[in-house]
Subunit: 215 residues, 8 copies
């Protein structure tokens, strides 16, 4: 077989394995999804392009596909809210939305309540400061930003909660496909901001879920 | 003045400002520490080299200095345990110890109970697997590793708790001062591992403290 | 002529020259393959895209093409098993399969017995440990992995046999097209792991063949 | 001779040539300064280390040396205020002060009125917002910051005046000696922020002077 | 909504927000432009590709699109000349024209008088020297160059006015998509040259406008 | 106009300006070629893709286009042999041929006699050594190689003539589009090998022509 | 304790753990060596600087230290020859000798017969060709080279045996501390050359030992 | 022995082998120089630091050492002028002098007449234009420049002779130890400029000698 699905993970981590769709062929995806379907798990495949998604939705008509987030979901069991608090996803600009959406879908799939805050980049700082209350109430904050990636530094200085920064590949030239934002976040002058890979909304949500699980 | 100390931070985040000693002159450090001392806070300065530390310990005789971690501490108030669980610091090799120590000192200073696990790198995987129990019980795990930085991927696959990875500058040649480990951790195939800057034990502990604060 | 085929190599190294298809035009490929065909050698062309392959298979109907591995083979003589032991190809994830397949086809073409082990990445370490026997019996092990490239460190620590690591370009963002995996492998904390170029399944198999030739 | 001093520059640009001390030997510096002294110009040499400065101050007793900024000045003519407004130098952290000082000294030397604002980094954003008035009144603003270099984005969004960003080499690990800050500034989401080389306080001041010269 | 348009910016900076078209979908662009249209502002969207532009021009028939500059403009109010002097845009080669055009359109949109000088690269230095008068009269100079990016150094040495350098992605091989030009400009041996992101004609014009606004 | 053609160059350097076709539009190319045609010069445009070339050959029926080299030539005057000796172009592999061809066409266009040697890479060193005579007789040698770029080191050690190395973008993975070959050539252990940009066959030929012009 | 020595390794791999001295303190080294001494193993510590070595040799008078290789050895048991054939270490230049020596010492310590060939770089190719016999007879060849790292390509094309390439940090400028050589070797046009980390003579010898162990 | 001196080179290339002093120990240098002395050749060792040079000059009292160029020379035979014309070395700034001096000493040692032109960087272009005559008369021009490395583009556009560019490590921040200058030179918009390694004055002179040898 092409994959040894880690069904065991649900025991170890309380969450089903999630499929990274990107470099898998349509056939590989079908095989893996079918195997997980038989197992009764909820299924999430990320980074599935629109063309593959159409074919998958034909094969699995109960599934749903979010085109911005490139996320394919097949819900087989009701998702229980297993989170201690709310996860807030803060998104710097309109162009960062696909990554923020991937994070939101993943976090909800893993049983969390999610709120979203969009287009509050640091070049118009009053837009963020106006949302102070929402920031203070969140249990975990995911901050999604491209270009210079400065937003997590400002958010990280305003709140006591865990802050997970997601650099995006938004930008051009010396943005280097997200490297500028990634480096900015790794060097945040706000203490204790942690970082995931460029465009990795999925990973940020998974990390937020690790934190937010009811003890 | 050379610095506007952010005393306000204690209100916003429940922790005192911590001083990054590295590129400050001895005089700047003395001025800042004296100002914080008057404020009554506990004081932690990281990345203070041995020479500056000697002079500081003369000036502030109640202080303590940990030479491996390059950490200068001046405790003025009893530290309350404010953590919900234990923070476990897992350290891949002997050479990564200074970074792990910086994390341990910071985490304790911020009011957490800390355990340490040393020399359990992936090239002798049985050493890590033998500590399975300790891994399962931790509320937050900080994994410190240099060279290829593979350890957080293994740990992240074994536990459900939050895992914060700290790449170290240990290694040579194509380790590129920690870049190899940093990239390895950002690309971890274990889901939801978050990463801080190279050698940033402090930041990892601060992030762990954000997670571990009693709700 | 466009190429001076190194027929002499068969004498020097006991193996025929293998064609790197990637930046050759269809015409160049036809010319070179025809010349080698006249010489009676077995022919392997790697990195031949599907479009060129179709045209080549029309021209050389006895040939075979493996679309995943992008490998074009034309067998003119029975391949003798010239290997002292088995070559085991260990593949971290489903997405790394094309590179693993290129390695397998090359190794078999050069006269080796080959076994394959798939989807045993380090984030679910029990999957690898369950195959301990197979690992211990191999004469040479090729480990194919993308993302953080941690698998060769674990394998290299478990066995005494030669381990050749192949980084793949699987991953995104800070995977940098295989650089993260490459650096991870070059800095492996398991001693004596050697490395070939990103996605170079062919090179790994050729190196394994150098090792495995019957003395 | 070792140098062809560009006395002509004073005609072309209204300012004397300024000496880059860094990779010049003490002898070269003496020769060049003596030649400019004979010419009657005011002299500024930047990046002169303390050891060379001591020798130069012995030779040119009327000179002054600022050890933080590593700037050597020899004033031979009264400096006329030639600026249309004030240049404000905003400095993110204490560790960025040497670069800010180099900028301040250069700007004053070139005939500008200068104000300084220190330790107003984005992790404690209230410190900057409290200085809103001072920001609004400046004719040109130089923003000096290391680590993630986020401050110019916030300042650039608050004011209509020209903003020149200076990345500093403050930070460690993935700060890469100022690259993180440089990239952050080049990708600022505030429009029309311009950037100079890492640690180039001199260049920022020279650019500010080009802008601030009385029409 | 997908965007919180910063109408407030017109108050803070005297200019309307400008839309970065690149990673926005057609729907997002339509929504944002329609909102700004209702507000009565002049609208500029940069980096809009020809396909999206066609659809937008259908929807907003009063708009104009410049295909070289990839700039979409919708003028709703007469643009007042708010500039103190002329902005001169100096363009090294024919291939750099799209970036120079983006700068010219933006600068004019913001109320400036603009002149352009094309194909005056340093390999035929007499072409630039012949335009000495035009250079001396400009209030602000934007220099657009790819490949080695040497032109701003020569221009910066000839004039006293502010010089803003724009590296372009023109070139191949070790030009690295504009990195060579960017580094060249950051290291200009002419003092006080400032730099914006690769291909960022918009940003250079915005910076020139900050400088050129009537006091 | 889009370009100020440097007709003056023929006086300064004895050769006509050559057009870099790559980032010019078809219209720009037509305008420039027509202007040079009126001037009576021979015309060479490099890096012209096949689509543009077809349109140009329609417009200028006397022209010729070499598809491998992507070179467009329009000969209006007989080319005099102005070279003191022969230029030898040594090409490591079949895949490097397009770059070698660009060099050959340019060198011939500039009035030189050219010889070519193909597929003599260092992995079969006997192929090069067999051509020792040809190497010794050349006045200038251009060595074109991708991958590890080792060939100029061997050639440079065998001959006393000038050796110009051209790295190509042939290779994959850690070849990084020619960087590996470029670095190899810059660090050649053979003394006095000079290097041009990646894939810059044109530049190598132009440099060879500077050397080979009859005194 | 500071280290969990992997005594178990001797069982898994037939060789004792070897100590990486570089970032260990003198105290850590003493502790680890003493523990291994009690275990009766032969001890090798690599990358031990001369100062630490002096102190160690005082403490362990039976030990030997090779200053070029920076290798500290303490032999407690006779080393059995466990190799099937000879390991040949080919060293490009005099400056690469320390790395070659580290490889030689390690290989002998692990029970192999070793030969060395020095100063046979590719710029004087006749020096290598003169040693053809020695090359043909080796069971495994380690090739150590800095600068452009071309030697393994030539050797790899001449022999059928396994070739392990070790890039060294010898060189300056664009050698980038061994990156040029590393990339050269990873892109070797000789098939099946494998590579270890920059300056990693130890790793090459360990890999050679894996290959050369008597079946 | 530590080195196989390539005495044979004098036959192949008409010049003696030249020693790269940098990473050789004093003992290695003594051994090699003594061997060449016995052979009667003229000896040049480059990159010899002052400390080693003192010891060498004691041992070889007839030798001379140039401290700026770090060049050690031992002349045993009169140097014949073997050059067809003059080599002109053009040096951008005072700080680039050590590299220019290394080039001058090497070129003279190899039998060439050399002229030098200093401090003619592009920021004061009139200084270079004033030397037009000297530029036109040179047979070969070596251009040495750091920072943005723009000078070879201007020189290359002014003359028909061969131009060899040497980037220097002069500069700071984004100069990246000479990378900015190197990239600038590789991307020169003047055609046919060739480039050597950063700070490689020796290599440039050796290349110039290859060109300038009397046919
Ligand atoms: N968008 C994503 N980015 C990074 N990792 C992911 C993503 N989606 C899924 N994964 C992880 O990738 C692993 C699946 O890889 P695979 O077995 O190749 O499907 C899972 O363990 C997920 O936790
Ligand atoms: N071509 C461009 N390059 C960089 N920034 C731009 C460009 N065009 C517009 N912008 C800026 O991008 C911001 C708009 O981003 P958004 O809100 O995503 O449309 C505006 O504030 C502009 O100032
Ligand atoms: N393939 C090429 N690579 C680098 N430079 C070239 C190339 N072809 C032409 N050139 C140079 O580019 C300049 C022409 O640029 P342009 O004026 O934009 O056509 C000429 O001066 C040529 O010397
Ligand atoms: N010079 C070296 N380079 C790379 N790895 C080494 C070197 N010397 C020893 N090692 C490996 O490093 C590991 C020891 O690391 P440690 O436990 O930190 O002493 C051992 O497993 C050795 O196999
Ligand atoms: Mg899987
Ligand atoms: Mg502070
Ligand atoms: Mg071939
Ligand atoms: Mg000067
Ligand atoms: Mg916006
Ligand atoms: Mg032109
Ligand atoms: Mg160990
Ligand atoms: Mg030698």
């Amino acid at each position: 077989g092409v994959a040894q699905i880690d069904h065991h993970r649900e025991l170890r981590q309380g969450v089903p394995e999630i499929i990274l769709g990107e470099s898998k062929s349509l056939d590989q995806l079908k095989t893996i999804i079918a195997a997980m379907q038989r197992n009764g798990s909820n299924i999430l495949a990320t980074r599935v392009d629109a063309e593959k998604a159409t074919a998958l939705c034909n094969q699995f008509p109960e599934a749903e596909y979010n085109v911005d987030a490139r996320a394919f979901c097949l819900i087989q069991q009701k998702i229980e809210n297993s989170g201690a608090g709310k996860i807030l996803i803060v998104c710097a600009g309109t162009s960062d939305l696909p990554v923020a959406k991937e994070a939101a879908i993943t976090a909800r799939m893993l049983g969390n309540e999610v709120e979203e805050l969009v287009d509050v980049g640091v070049a118009g700082i009053h837009r963020l400061l106006a949302k102070s209350d929402q920031l203070q109430k969140a249990a975990v904050i995911i901050v999604v930003a491209g270009m210079e990636g400065a937003l997590p530094s400002v958010v990280g200085g305003l709140v006591a909660a865990p802050v997970i920064a997601v650099p995006t590949s938004v930008g051009y030239g010396a943005a280097f496909g997200g490297i500028a934002a990634l480096l900015g976040m790794l060097n945040s002058c706000a203490s204790g901001v942690t970082v995931v890979n460029i465009d990795n909304g999925f990973g940020a949500a998974f990390a937020a879920n690790r934190i937010n699980r009811k003890g």
